[in-house]
């Protein structure tokens, strides 16, 4: 559905998107993840035909985004960041205008407008001026607009931005229900969202793709950096002894708790469980353990790690790439 090859976009000397390539297959829901300013919106604007790339190629539904812009736009429902809308129009009026622009007409148009209003929950607001709507409702109107012409591809730039938790859940359910009819590319920085609703995650930072995999795979691969938190009572160079255990990559002592308790964080090698070994060591050394807990990585850790890792791709652990 989307095929991006070696895409680059430069603004006045600043590179926003740097030679990225990825594909999205029909029927997939793909999450586009990255910190602010990573190049998400730029990529989406290029894909929706709003502006051209500096170099590289991108096609949507088989049409080139630059040379066949009109065909691309007919097949894409795009919802820009912050849901810009005409504030002097009423909800239904606006959707009617947009539907007409996108080639709908007559009875089928009216029926479809009713459908998308129902789907996004703005039916009760249809006679209200958009300027008087809350942010959440504006977001939904923009979503209704993106859906109105039954596009094959939906590109949603932060669709849940500014919504309350109930509305977020609503949008998430909506996206899942759309899966059979549409391919979805959505950007967000709420990780929970992606874990809940996306088949695949493309992580982008500083204009480069840092990871491209299913949420499960990403978190599993990150298990290499599983952390073990430990609170023990004991004396001497405990960190060194913990470090000597097979499978422990690095043990660091955290700032002091109440004496004599000490706190350690162990970074553990992939596919190792060192809890037993730690326990044996403690028994042998006559340490008293009052807490030991293993922290499984979340997508958030992947995200933070990638966001912090702002350097060249060489800095990124190879197993994530």
């Amino acid at each position: 559905m989307i095929d991006v090859q070696d895409l680059t976009k430069q603004y006045a000397g600043r590179t926003a998107v740097n030679h990225i390539s990825f594909r999205v297959e029909p029927g997939e829901i793909v999450g586009f993840l990255g910190p602010n300013g990573a190049g998400k919106s730029t990529t989406m604007r290029i894909l929706s035909g709003y502006m051209p790339a500096t170099s590289g190629r991108a096609s949507v539904a088989g049409f080139d985004v630059f040379h066949q812009s009109i065909q691309v736009r007919q097949n894409v429902g795009y919802m820009p960041e912050n849901a810009p809308l005409y504030t002097d129009m009423k909800v239904k009026e606006y959707l009617r205008f947009r539907a007409e622009l996108k080639g709908l007409s007559g009875l089928s148009m009216r029926r479809r407008i009713g459908e998308v209003m129902e789907l996004t929950g703005v039916t009760d607001m249809r006679k209200r001026l958009i300027g008087n709507l809350s942010k959440g409702y504006r977001q939904r109107v923009a979503l209704a607009d993106a859906l109105v012409h039954k596009p094959r591809l939906l590109i949603l730039d932060e669709p849940t931005n500014g919504l309350d938790p109930v509305q977020i859940r609503h949008v998430r359910d909506l996206l899942r229900s759309l899966k059979s009819k549409h391919t979805v590319l959505l950007s967000t920085h709420i990780l929970h969202e992606v874990e809940q609703s996306c088949d695949r995650v493309v992580m982008i930072n500083q204009g480069r793709i840092r990871a491209n995999d299913t949420p499960e795979n990403l978190t599993r691969q990150l298990r290499s950096t599983t952390l073990l938190h430990l609170e023990v009572e004991g004396n001497g160079p405990m960190a060194e002894k913990l470090n000597a255990l097979p499978g422990v990559r690095k043990a660091t002592e955290e700032p002091l708790l109440v004496h004599p308790w000490r706190r350690f964080t162990l970074r553990v090698e992939p596919d190792h469980d060192v809890r037993d070994a730690v326990l044996s060591l403690a028994t042998e050394q006559k340490w008293r353990i009052r807490e030991m807990h293993r922290q499984l990585p979340t997508l958030e850790d992947v995200f933070v790690e990638l966001s912090m890792n702002a350097g060249t791709p060489a800095d990124i652990p190879t197993h994530v790439l």
Binding site: S48, Y50, F66, P80, P84, Y86, T87, M89, L101, K102
Partner: protein, 252 residues
């Protein structure tokens, strides 16, 4: 073409739901009234060569309205969309830039034409209550309104261009006002220094001078040259607008 009508309908709607059209209409009517009154008093005082039409459009009041109409009508066309961010939604719908520009421009031209309808009523009314004593020469009437529309089309195109340059409506209004004023001052320049400079220069400048065009047309002389001039200049500024709007699509 279908898309063009949809866009035009939307633009006209935007004009008439906002107070802008009504405020401008009210102001133009007031100033028109003063201009008309000034013309009547000229005719009252002494027999005159000019008709009521030519005196009305020579009044200072007329030129006062001439300047604020264009910035007020055009300033929001693109600037507002840029500010709201709706230019992005608009241009990710399957529309072409010329359809959007054409619709916005034509909507402003239509509103502009509506502004002059009450002045037509003034003339007819004066003719009617004076039982025909106030003459309305058909040539002068036709000439006056033709040149009004032609000048309007040019200045509205300038305003369109100014609005596309910025996301700030005030800045757009000032640019459009300045460009219109500069154009107008050409004619004033001739009026002030015309007798001191060579005739060739006067003649050349008169080709561009709005005051001169009004003088000729309201006298009932319909000359095709100013019409061609204004229409081609409108097209020029609309093509500038197209370039500005499509700027984001430029490839290095």
């Amino acid at each position: 073409m279908r898309l063009f009508w949809i866009l035009l309908k939307k633009e006209l709607h935007a004009f008439f739901v906002s107070p802008v059209a009504y405020v401008v209409l009210a102001l133009v009517m007031v100033l028109n009234g003063f201009a008309f009154r000034a013309a009547l008093s000229v005719l009252e005082s002494a027999p005159s060569e000019g008709s009521i039409v030519s005196w009305t459009f020579h009044a200072m009041w007329f030129w006062l309205s001439y300047f604020f109409i264009f910035p007020l009508l055009t300033m929001r066309l693109f600037a507002e969309e840029k500010k709201l961010g709706t230019l992005e939604t608009l241009f990710t719908a399957p529309v072409r830039a010329w359809q959007v520009i054409g619709a916005k421009y034509l909507a402003s031209v239509i509103v502009y034409c509506v502004l002059w309808l009450p002045s037509l009523f003034n003339f007819k009314f004066a003719h009617w209550i004076s039982a025909g004593a106030v003459e309305l020469p058909p040539g002068a009437m036709a000439g006056a309104y033709i040149i009004l529309v032609a000048m309007g089309m040019f200045n509205l195109a300038v305003g369109c261009f100014a609005s596309a340059l910025t996301s700030n409506q005030i800045v757009a209004a000032i640019i459009s006002f300045t460009l219109s004023l500069l154009h107008f001052l050409l004619g004033v320049f001739i009026m002030v220094v015309g007798h001191k400079i060579s005739d060739t220069i006067v003649e050349v400048v008169n080709y561009f001078a709005a005051t001169e065009h009004i003088r000729i047309f309201t006298a009932g002389l319909i000359d095709s040259r100013p019409i061609v001039y204004y229409l081609s200049m409108s097209l020029l500024f609309l093509s500038f607008t197209h370039h500005v709007v499509e700027f984001r699509r430029w490839r290095p």
